[in-house]
């Protein structure tokens, strides 16, 4: 431009510099927050579980513990509660075994494309129920664990035979999930239910309590 700008507000260099500064500042802030968040969402250790140190994402060995999702007055929302030890598929899993099982489960969840029907932590598709707290869903008990002695065995059975055991006309298809993969998936679901999601999904425990006392929607 031949003429000098009359005002800074119509000056391209001014806006270019401002854009660069704002973008740079936002990026630096995001990177700084990312470092903090990554520290907080790294998986805890088995020691954390034994010493009852709360982690947002617990160690894979959390599958050896009873998990609940209860209203916390101080936080004003529901939070996962890691309770006493309970057997998982009839045994206590060592650190390595639990990690391996969770690894298999997470891989399977991706290989079977769960996320394109279900939501996980609320993200995915909206064709099938959210899986964030699926391990804690009162419906497993209401369905009598499909005749299996424990919840984990019931869920594993369902995952291997979904289309003939669905509770709705919108059925889950048979995805060729093997017995081992089903175990892994159940571990993955149990682990996910122990993640501190800041109270998402809300009101879930209310529905669970209602169901347990034979409330309206306990079928």
């Amino acid at each position: 431009m031949a003429k000098e700008n009359v005002s800074v507000w119509t000056s391209i260099p001014f806006w270019r510099r401002s854009a660069a500064w704002v973008t740079g500042f936002a990026t630096i802030l995001l990177i700084w927050l990312t470092f903090d968040t990554l520290g907080q969402i790294s998986m805890g250790t088995d020691d954390d579980l034994q010493t009852k140190t709360r982690k947002r994402v617990p160690a894979p060995t959390v599958i050896n513990y009873h998990i609940d999702y209860k209203y916390d007055r101080k936080r004003g929302s529901e939070v996962p509660v890691v309770g006493n030890k309970e057997p998982f598929f009839g045994k206590e899993w060592s650190v390595d075994e639990a990690a391996e099982l969770l690894h298999l489960g997470k891989l399977t969840s991706q290989a079977k494309n769960c996320m394109n029907c279900h939501t996980l932590l609320g993200n995915g598709a909206y064709y099938a129920p959210d899986l964030t707290k699926a391990w804690l869903d009162p419906n497993w008990e209401a369905m009598g664990y499909f005749g299996k002695p424990t919840k984990e065995e019931g869920i594993a059975y369902f995952l291997q035979h979904p289309s003939e055991n669905s509770i709705h006309t919108r059925r889950m298809p048979n995805l060729g999930i093997t017995e081992e993969e089903a175990k892994g998936l159940v571990a993955f679901l149990k682990h996910m239910s122990s993640i501190d999601t800041n109270g998402f999904p809300r009101n879930f425990s209310k529905a669970t309590d209602k169901s347990n006392v034979g409330g309206t929607y306990a079928r």
Binding site: M1, I12, W15, R16, S18, A19, T23, A26, L30, T37, Q40, I41, S42, M43, R56, P60, H103, K106, L107, T108, S109, Q110, A111, K112, N113, C114, N116, C117, L121, N123, A125, Y126, Y127, P129, D130, T132, K133, P138, N139, I167, H168, T169, R170, P173, L175, G176, I177, T178, E181, H191, I195, T197, N198, F200, N203, F204, K206, A207, S211, Y217
Partner: protein, 480 residues
Amino acid sequence: MLASIKTNSLTNEGQKLGMMYFRVAVILFGAQLVMGLIAAIQFLMPGFLFEIFDFSVARMVHINALVVWMLYAMIGSTYLMLTDETEHEGVGIALGKLGFWILTAAVTVVVLVYIFIQVGAGTEATIWFINEGREYIEAPRWADIGIVVVVLIFYWNVFATYLAGKQTGIMTVMVANLLALAGLYIAGMFFTDNISMDQFWWWWVIHLWVEATWEVFVGTLAAYALIKLIGAKREIVEMWLWIEVLMLFGSGILGLGHHYFWIGTPEYWWEIGALFSALEPVPLIAMFVHVLYDWGKEQGIANGKGEEGNVIKNGPAMAWIVTNAFGNFLGAGIWGFFHTLPQVNIYTHGTQFTAAHGHLSFFGAYATILIGMIYYGIQRAYGVERMKSTFKSKMGIFMITFGVMGMTIALTIAGYEQVLVERADLGATWNAFFTAQDLAWYTQAQLWRAIMGVVTFVGFIYLVWDLLTIGKAAKETQEA
């Protein structure tokens, strides 16, 4: 079939390559709509193609075709404007053409595997060769690497041409933004057992694409298009572009926080995500004002000079770009703001609300302007001075816009019902989910969504028909 979009009048190899990308983009757009229709029918009739072509498959191809056709059209648009902006014929375009064929072959293989193999065993091999099972970026790892290589070739074309030629403000933004866009893809290329960590980085790709770098990309396209279509003044357009970059990145980068409310990440993201994502509509209003203002101004100047007729050199392209200005604000801005605050999002997260927003925002913010660029490409390819809208152009834009709007409203109603019944009242369990899915408010809304999907598809047929014929007709009119 699309060979009839001829490139006879183009002498520049980069622009011919751009047209090649556009042709594939249109085919993939069609595939996206067909898959969407299948998925919409499955909501109404769950037995439809059950255990043959399940919802998960239809939906995966639906959203992947969406992302890929948009990337194709974005690359095509960049090749189209590269020589115009840099006044340089283009560096390494022959290699770029090789990249095009590699990418297209890879996309074909990936889609065939999605459709015919669908799922694999729970092993690393599935992640490498079948699909990664992560929404939007399901492409298996081998394809990820291939995509990165092809994108590097494309980026080298753009960057080397930029360095060798004239460096306009528009191209400076383009070059910087494309680097960020391409680099972000790498954040989605690793496996972790930790689902929170998985989703944390996954959003770096998805959010920082569609709510930051893609939006800036749209800003550069609109800037270029306004100069070309209505003769807007470069100084003003570039000033606006820098203001848009400032506001888009200023709000969009930290707006990433609105995806970190419930995935295991700390509570401070509530405040950061709410504040910055609430600011995200601001640049979209600015973009809307900018397009309409410049249009009115240029027309006013022309009228003042006593010139006859309107200043628009490409009717359908301009119509789509104005639709973009409004659709971006409405779909991304308003429909995004609806559920961006954590107090609301705790109930709406993962409901049909998200689907409603997704449909209108991808359409309004991206599909519209990219279709506009395809029309502009056709004008160049046939070497016509003025391209007026035909009946088919009008039917195309009207039916597609009306259809997507209808789907959005239907899904919003479904989402509203789902929020109240499943989330607020019944507590998001399996029974709560299905109780809400079975209520008439929901099922009727899903029926309307399917009907509006058909309307969109008919509009698409008009669009393709128009794309195939408008250039030739305009050329004949010009020569007559």
